[in-house]
Assembly symmetry: C2
Homo-oligomer: 469 residues x 2
C-alpha cells in the first residue's frame, strides 16, 4: 500500500468508527500534511480516493466534509420492531384506508384513486357476461397460476409494448400486494437483507417486518427515483438478496426512473446477482404521451419480478393483480397454493372479457388526462395556500403529491388534528422506519376539485400555520 | 412421597430419559419387587399410577409395557424442513390439485367437491344482479373486515343455530385458507408451539413450516377426532400457543368430534389459556339430520377462531371464506391489510345476495343427500375391490374416505403409478411430516359414480395387489 492509500484507509476507519460524523469538516490538506509529516500531494491523493469511494465530499472554498451515507441500514431498529410503535403506524394506516371509504371524509391521505374514475358500466357488462356463462361452465376450482384467459390478455399487453413475457411466467394474484409479498417470500428467508427506497411504500416496510427481513433504505430522488450510486454502495456493503422499488410514479414521491437509470440499476443488480421486485402499480398512469418501459423490458435473465394490478385503473375492490415472475414463477405459485390458493375465478374471467375489447386503452387515455388536470388544480391550490417554503414533488404522473414542509412541522400531529375535522393526509412517518420524514406528507390529487377539497387544502394550510407559529 | 410414588417417579424418569422405549416390556411385578426389596403391592400401585397417567399400558397375561406417547413433538424434524423433502411434498400436492382441473383425470385425490354439485344458476343470477348494481354504486375499495352485507348474512346463519356471533368479529377472507393462515399468524411468533392433528390437513403443516412454528402432532381418532387425553398431555409438556383442528368431517380421516368431546377439548385449552383455530370448512356437510354445533358455540371468551368458507358448498373458484375471530378479530384484519388487503368486493356482494334468498339451506340439504349416496357407492366398490384387510374410515359426512392398507403398501408409490394412468389419490405422506401414514390414502367420493370411477377403483385395487404380491 502506498502512503496515500494508508492515510485514506486510516481516515476511512475513523469515519466508519464514528470518530468523524457525516457533515464534519476534515482537517485541511495543509494541516493534515503538517500533522502526519507527509507531503500535501499525498494528503490530497488520499482525500481524492475517499471522495471517489463516496466517504467524503469536497465543497469549493470550504474543504472536505464527511459524506452522508447514501445507504443507511435499518436492520430492525427498535422503532420498526417495538410493538407499540408498529401498532401505532398500523393504526394510522388503517384509519387512513378506512377514511377513504367514508363519504363524509375528504380523503387526501387515501392511496386509492377516486372510484368515480373507474369504467363501471363496461366492467358491469363483462361481469354480466361471466355471470351468464356460469350457468353452463361453472367456475370449478381456480388454481395458480390463474386463468389462462387473463394471463394471455396480460401477455398481449406486454407484447404491445415490444416486451416478451410469456403467459407461463405470469401468476394472477389477489391484488399486486399479494404479488409483492409472494415474490419477496420466494426470494428470501428471515434475516436476509433487502434494499428498499427511502421513502418507501409502507406495504414494503410492513412486508419486511412481517417476514423478519433486514432492510437497507437507499436514497431515492423525488424526480428520478432510486439513486444508482446509493444502490451500488448498499450492494457492496450488505449481502442483499432482493431489491424492491417502484419504477413509475413512486409512492409516495411521485418520481419516475429515467430509462438510463433503469438500465443502470438492473446492471448493478445483475453484477451482484440480486433479484428485483419491480412494483409497477402506477405504470399506466404516466405523464406525457409515451408509455415508459418497465425495468423488466431490459431483463433477459428472469431476474425481475414485475408486479402490477388493475386496482389503480379499473377498480380497487376487484383485488386482481399479477406478477410476471421470471425465474420465480413456480416458487410464487407454490407459495400462493399455501396461502390464498388463487384469486377469484369470476373476477379473473370478467377482467379477461373486458381486456378482450378495445375499451381499456381508451379508458387509460382519458384517465391519465383527468388525473393530470386534477393534479394541476391541486398543485396550484397548495402553492397558493401553503407556506412558501413548502416544496412540492411528484407534479408529473400518477395522483400523489409529496410535500416537504419546514422542519418544525410534524405531520403526524397534523394528521390527527386534520382527522378530527374530517380530512385525512398521509404523514411522512408512514414511509420510513424512523422519523426522517416527519415534516413531509403525501396528498391524493385524484379527488374531484370542488368547494370541499378547496376548503380542506386551506384548512390544512391553517393547521400547518398554527404549528409554525 | 410414599414408597410407590417414589418408584413410579423413578420409572417415569427412566422412560422420559429413553431408558425404556415405547413397546418395551417392564420387569414383572414379582421381579421388580425382588430387585427393589419392596412388596408386590407397592410395585403394583406404582405401575397402576403410571398407567393412569398414560406412561405405561397393561396387557392381560403379558404384563406392563411402555406406552406409545400420545403426543409426539415434531419440532421441525429434518423431513419437514429439508428443502428437497418439502419440495417433493409440495410437488405431489400441486399435481393433485392440478389434476382436479384436468377433465381427462379421475381426480380421486382432489380435495374439492365435484363442481357439478354447485348451484351455478342461482349464483349466476346473484352475480348478474351485482353486475347491474356496479353501474351506479361502483365497488370502491374493499377493506378488512369485508363487506357488511356479507358479514351480516353470515352472522344470521350463526344466529339460526342459536350462536351469538357479531358481524364485528367476522373477517371476510380469500377462502378459508387465508383465514386459517392469518389466524395462526395473529397468535404466534416463529418458534412457538402449535398443536395439530395426526394425520392433519397438509395446509396446516405447510402453514406451520412457512411461519417457522413447532408442531405437536396429537393422536386423532378416525371417528371421533382429536383425543382429549393426548391434547392434555401435549398441553402439559409443551408451551403451546395455539391448537388447530377440524371439528367436522376431518380432512383426511372424515371423523367428527362428538359434542362432549368438543366441550372437553375447549375446557382443556381454556385451562392452559391456549387459542383454538377451528377449521370448519366441512361443517355444512354433516351426516344425519341434525346440524352439529361448532366448538365456537361453547366459547364465551373469544378464544375460538372459527374458520369456514363457501368453497365446499357453493364453488371453489370464488375464494370467499371468513373467520369469526373472537379476540383476534382486529389482529387478523391488520394482517390482512398487509397481505391481500381484502377479498373481491363483487364476489362478496354476490354471495350476500345469494344468502339473502332461501336457496342455500335447500341446496345444502340436497348436497348432503347426494354426497351421502355417492359415498355409499364408493364404499361398496372399495370394499368389493380392495384387499379384505383394508380398513375404511370416514363413511359418515363429507366426501372423504380414509383407507388404511396393509403395512407393506406404499401409497406414495401408488400415487405415481396411478397418476401415470390418469388416476389421482391423496397419499398418506401428505398428511404428516413423517412416514407414519405411508400405507394410507384418502379418496374423494364426491365424484359421480360411473364406469370411469368404477374402473379407477378396480385399477387402484390391482396396483395395490401388485405391491402386495
Amino acid at each position: 500500500m502506498t502512503k496515500y492509500e494508508q492515510l485514506a484507509r486510516q481516515l476511512q476507519g475513523q469515519i466508519a468508527a464514528g470518530a468523524w460524523q457525516p457533515g464534519d469538516r476534515l482537517p485541511s490538506l495543509r494541516e493534515s500534511a503538517r500533522r502526519a509529516d507527509i507531503s500535501l500531494m499525498t494528503v490530497l491523493s488520499a482525500y481524492q480516493l475517499l471522495e471517489s469511494e463516496g466517504w467524503i465530499r469536497s465543497r469549493p472554498q470550504s474543504g472536505y466534509f464527511v459524506a452522508e451515507p447514501l445507504a443507511s441500514p435499518i436492520e430492525h431498529s427498535p422503532s420498526l420492531l417495538q410493538p407499540a410503535e408498529t401498532v401505532d403506524i398500523n393504526a394510522v394506516i388503517f384509519k387512513l384506508l378506512q377514511a377513504g371509504d367514508d363519504p363524509a371524509c375528504v380523503a387526501l391521505g387515501s392511496a386509492f384513486p377516486d372510484p368515480s374514475l373507474f369504467p363501471r358500466q363496461q366492467l358491469a357488462r363483462s361481469l354480466g357476461r361471466v355471470a351468464r356463462q356460469l350457468h353452463s361452465q361453472g367456475t370449478g376450482v381456480s388454481l395458480p397460476p390463474g386463468r389462462i384467459e387473463l394471463r394471455r390478455a396480460i401477455a398481449r399487453r406486454y407484447a404491445a409494448r415490444g416486451m416478451r413475457v410469456s403467459p407461463d411466467e405470469i401468476v394472477i394474484t389477489s391484488g399486486a400486494l399479494e404479488a409483492l409479498n409472494l415474490g419477496l417470500q420466494s426470494l428470501t428467508v428471515p434475516g436476509d437483507w433487502v434494499v428498499v427506497e427511502s421513502p418507501a411504500f409502507y406495504g414494503a416496510l410492513q412486508a419486511l417486518e412481517r417476514h423478519r427481513l433486514k432492510a437497507v433504505a437507499v436514497a431515492t430522488d423525488p424526480q428520478k427515483g432510486m439513486d444508482p450510486d446509493a444502490l451500488a454502495e448498499a450492494l457492496e456493503r450488505y449481502p442483499v438478496k432482493a431489491c424492491w422499488l417502484m419504477s413509475h410514479c413512486q409512492n409516495p414521491l411521485g418520481g419516475t426512473l429515467p430509462a438510463a437509470r433503469k438500465q443502470r440499476l438492473l446492471a448493478l443488480l445483475a453484477r451482484h446477482d440480486v433479484a428485483l421486485i419491480e412494483d409497477d402499480v402506477y405504470g399506466e398512469l404516466y405523464a406525457g404521451d409515451e408509455p415508459p418501459l418497465p425495468i423488466k423490458a431490459w431483463d433477459e435473465e428472469g431476474r425481475v419480478l414485475h408486479c402490477a394490478s388493475f386496482s389503480k385503473t379499473l377498480g380497487s375492490g376487484m383485488r386482481i393483480g399479477w406478477v410476471a415472475a421470471g425465474r420465480q414463477a413456480e416458487a410464487v405459485q407454490r407459495l400462493q397454493l399455501m396461502s390464498t390458493l388463487s384469486a377469484s375465478a369470476p373476477m379473473q374471467l370478467a377482467l379477461a372479457d373486458y381486456l378482450s375489447g378495445h375499451h381499456y386503452d381508451k379508458h387509460l387515455h382519458t384517465l391519465r388526462r383527468t388525473l393530470a388536470q386534477r393534479k394541476q388544480r391541486f398543485c396550484r391550490a397548495v402553492q397558493r395556500a401553503f407556506p412558501p417554503s413548502a416544496r412540492l414533488h411528484g407534479a408529473e404522473g400518477g395522483y400523489f403529491l409529496w410535500i416537504e414542509l419546514p422542519a418544525p412541522v410534524c405531520t403526524t400531529r397534523l394528521y390527527w388534528r386534520a382527522l378530527a375535522e374530517g380530512i385525512t393526509i398521509a404523514p411522512g412517518r408512514m414511509f420510513a422506519t424512523d422519523d426522517r420524514y416527519r415534516h413531509c406528507l403525501r396528498l391524493n390529487t385524484s379527488l374531484p376539485w370542488n368547494a370541499r377539497s378547496d376548503a380542506a387544502i386551506r384548512r390544512l394550510a391553517e393547521l400547518i400555520g398554527e404549528q409554525l407559529a
